[in-house]
């Protein structure tokens, strides 16, 4: 019966071609969409790099060598950063400790560097690539408000995107803003998946009163103006980063649960589920091993768009002044400063953060389109 078993492709693979699972084929397909694939490479690498921002963009020195002792001030920020938004909370090294006479508050490392170079005592300071931090403001010597892009400070340091109303560096804030926005969105999206997927799955599989009840609840939830409600809550209790994440999760698990529910509702009637039941697979395993992997396509393709929505929501909240607590660098807050000074011609205050927002979201949308195309290709055929 050798002939009987020549593999005949019902899909695209044929004899001689390597064996690929559906996932592998989808990954290949995704990679063939260059725009989406490269967007993903760019975005992921940027995000990974952004986790090390304190070593790249910071007013704190990477390394200070003073009188035989070595300090690593920026490293502390690095430890602080994964729990984003806690900037400014790190203990600092005072200026006096490093030889800045009369400075009992935090050391000004840029000044320190100049000081050491003048002193030539063998002490040295290694500054990060871009030596301005996101929250140091006009109170630090040399910081001027409303410096235009590419302007130089009195010490000749370059301000890539200028400064804002309080003399804070726009480039540094933009860069940190990316890190925070993206982490925020990833966290919100992942948490809402964590809630939405099992809830939706149970609704779809068990149905009955649980489903009815949850659907009513979701209808109520869906009719609420959620961003406005969040603003109300935020206006009353100024939330931390994580509370804000939770607030958004409370409203964003809904869509995922609904999609999951529809999927499970449909998949449970398919014959492979009946087959699994007929051989006695326990329910938990049917849900996890059989139905779940077959139900993931819509929510996987939705993930990038969830990220887009969550970043947009955070920026909107920040713009209104009800997002992350100041002085956390955030794009929305930057825009709102820009809008307040709209007539003064400080265009970069609006265009830089919105440009960053636009580029980031555009990349995510490109990824999303490619993922959707790879997972759920649209057939186009036309008759005439």
């Amino acid at each position: 019966m050798a002939q009987t078993d020549t593999i005949t492709a019902s899909g695209s693979s044929s004899a001689g071609e390597e064996v690929l699972s559906i996932q592998q084929r989808r990954w290949r397909k995704f990679r063939s969409f260059k725009r989406g694939y490269y967007s993903m490479l760019v975005l992921l690498s940027t995000y990974v790099i952004s986790l090390f921002l304190p070593l790249l963009v910071n007013n704190r020195a990477l390394m200070v060598h003073y009188n035989g002792r070595t300090y690593f001030p920026a490293i502390r920020d690095l430890l602080d950063l994964p729990i984003v938004g806690q900037l400014g909370g790190t203990p600092f090294i005072s200026g006096e400790e490093l030889g800045q006479i009369g400075n009992k508050s935090e050391c000004n490392y840029r000044a320190l560097k100049r000081q050491y170079e003048e002193e030539k005592k063998g002490n040295y300071v290694v500054m990060p690539l871009y030596s301005f931090g996101p929250i140091e403001d006009i109170s630090v010597e040399g910081n001027e408000p409303f410096m235009p892009p590419l302007a130089r400070t009195q010490f000749g340091e370059l301000r890539l995107f200028g400064t804002d109303d309080r003399g804070r560096d726009v480039f540094a804030r933009m860069a940190y803003g990316f890190q925070i926005s993206f982490s925020f969105a990833l966290l919100v999206a992942s948490l809402s998946y964590l809630i939405g997927v099992p809830l939706g799955a149970l609704m779809g599989y068990y149905g009955r009163w649980f489903d009815l009840l949850m659907q009513r609840l979701m209808e109520i939830w869906g009719s609420l103006p959620f961003l406005f409600l969040i603003i109300i809550v935020v206006s009353i209790v100024r939330p931390s980063f994580f509370v804000l994440v939770l607030l958004l999760v409370i409203f964003s698990w809904l869509g995922i649960a609904q999609q999951m529910r529809a999927q499970f509702y449909r998949e449970k009637t398919r014959d492979y589920t009946a087959a699994a039941i007929s051989i006695g697979v326990p329910t938990r395993k049917i849900l996890l091993k059989h139905i779940l992997p077959n139900s993931l396509v819509p929510i996987i393709t939705f993930f990038p768009f969830a990220i887009v929505g969550d970043i947009g929501a955070l920026v909107s909240l920040d713009f209104l002044g009800f997002g992350l607590a100041p002085p956390t660098p955030s794009w929305g807050e930057m825009v709102s400063i820009g809008m307040e000074n709209l007539t003064s011609g400080y265009w970069w205050l609006v265009l830089v953060p919105l440009g960053a927002l636009f580029v980031t979201l555009m990349l995510v949308v490109f990824i999303g389109e490619a993922v959707r195309e790879a997972f759920d290709p649209k057939t186009f055929s036309r008759l005439r």
Partner: protein, 345 residues
């Protein structure tokens, strides 16, 4: 042959682009359909029978499909060369088609009446009122009771069998010369299938000069309905013959295999015996062998079959077979390949 063919298909090639590779869904198909006959096209999935039918209607979705070469001569006019504006005058008026899936073939958001009247308005230029009047008549003709009332109903209010009747009414509205029926009864239950076949025979009686092209995978339906039969496999015509000839003297190993592999309780000699199965699987059209398309499953295949595709050759008068192992008995056998059939005829 004194009759003039109504439809002559010559060397039709319709290819499909599947993920970057071209599949020859229909690969050089030639046949004639004469007035007044029921011409059957038999084949399994992927044999190209439906694509052949859609090619005649020029309803190949593009992309991914395309008629690459060939002629489809309807009353001497080459449909392949017509542009799509001119096709609108052919479809529904000269050649009509009914499809396999009655449940999805009617537009769910329009009334039955509108969907029938629309054809009449498009081709006959009748007023809306007249069109609806005719539509009611047509519904009665295809055996739908209370036709006038049901004109305002929507497809979802009809059962599958009823919908197929509506499809037939739509197809017959303008009295086409050719009716192409693509698996018209496959989706229906046996008792409903009998009704629909009966109806088609009845309607056929009313117009002697029209032809029906009946596409099916069910040999029994062919045996009941058709005058001549074409067997397709792998995008190629494998055998064309009169229905009695084909069933009585199947020459192609594939035809023979098909006939033997279906249970025949009506024949005492087969009862209780093991079925004779054709080994192997229906090949994907992306993956056809180089020589004879059937060689991978043929029990009598010789080496030549794997490398060289046999021609479709006349074995006995009007019985064409594509097989190296069948010898013609005719002094001057005709062939569909290469040269025009009309010339040799």
């Amino acid at each position: 042959m004194e009759r003039k063919p109504l439809l002559q298909v010559r060397n039709l090639q319709t290819h499909f682009n599947i993920e970057g590779r071209w599949a020859r869904a229909v690969d050089g198909v030639s046949f004639d359909v004469y007035p007044g006959e029921v011409f059957g096209i038999v084949g399994e999935s992927g044999s190209g029978k439906s694509v052949t039918a859609l090619s005649i209607m020029k309803l190949i979705p593009d992309p991914p499909g395309r008629i690459v070469a060939g002629e489809i001569l309807y009353r001497g006019m080459d449909l392949v060369q017509l542009d799509y504006h001119e096709m609108y005058r052919i479809r529904g008026k000269e050649i009509a088609m009914i499809f396999q899936e009655p449940m999805t073939s009617l537009n769910p958001v329009f009334t039955i009446g509108m969907q029938i009247a629309e054809v009449l308005q498009a081709h006959e230029g009748v007023s809306e009122e007249d069109a609806y009047y005719r539509a009611a008549e047509l519904l009665t003709q295809v055996g739908i009771p209370d036709a006038e009332k049901r004109l305002d109903d929507y497809p979802h209010q009809f059962s599958g069998g009823m919908r197929q009747r509506v499809m037939i009414a739509i197809a017959l509205a303008c009295n086409p010369s050719i009716l192409i029926a693509d698996e018209p009864t496959t989706a229906l239950d046996v008792t409903i299938q009998a009704q629909i076949l009966e109806l088609m025979v009845e309607l056929k009686e009313q117009r002697k000069d029209a032809a029906i092209i009946l596409i099916t995978h069910n040999l029994a339906v062919v045996a009941e309905m058709c005058h001549r039969v074409m067997v397709m496999y792998g995008g190629k015509v494998q055998e064309i013959a009169d229905v009695f000839e084909l069933f009585g003297n199947p020459l192609h190993p594939y035809t023979n295999g098909l006939l033997q592999s279906i249970p025949r309780p009506d024949l005492p000699e087969y009862r209780g015996k093991r079925l004779v199965a054709i080994p192997g699987n229906v090949p994907s059209i992306l993956n056809l062998p180089r020589g004879c398309k059937f060689c991978t499953r043929c029990s009598i295949a010789i080496e030549r079959c794997f490398v060289e595709e046999p021609p479709l050759i006349e074995i006995t008068p009007d019985h064409f077979v594509r097989c190296h192992l069948v010898e013609t008995t005719l002094a001057q056998p005709r062939t569909f390949d290469g040269q025009s059939f009309a010339e040799t005829a």
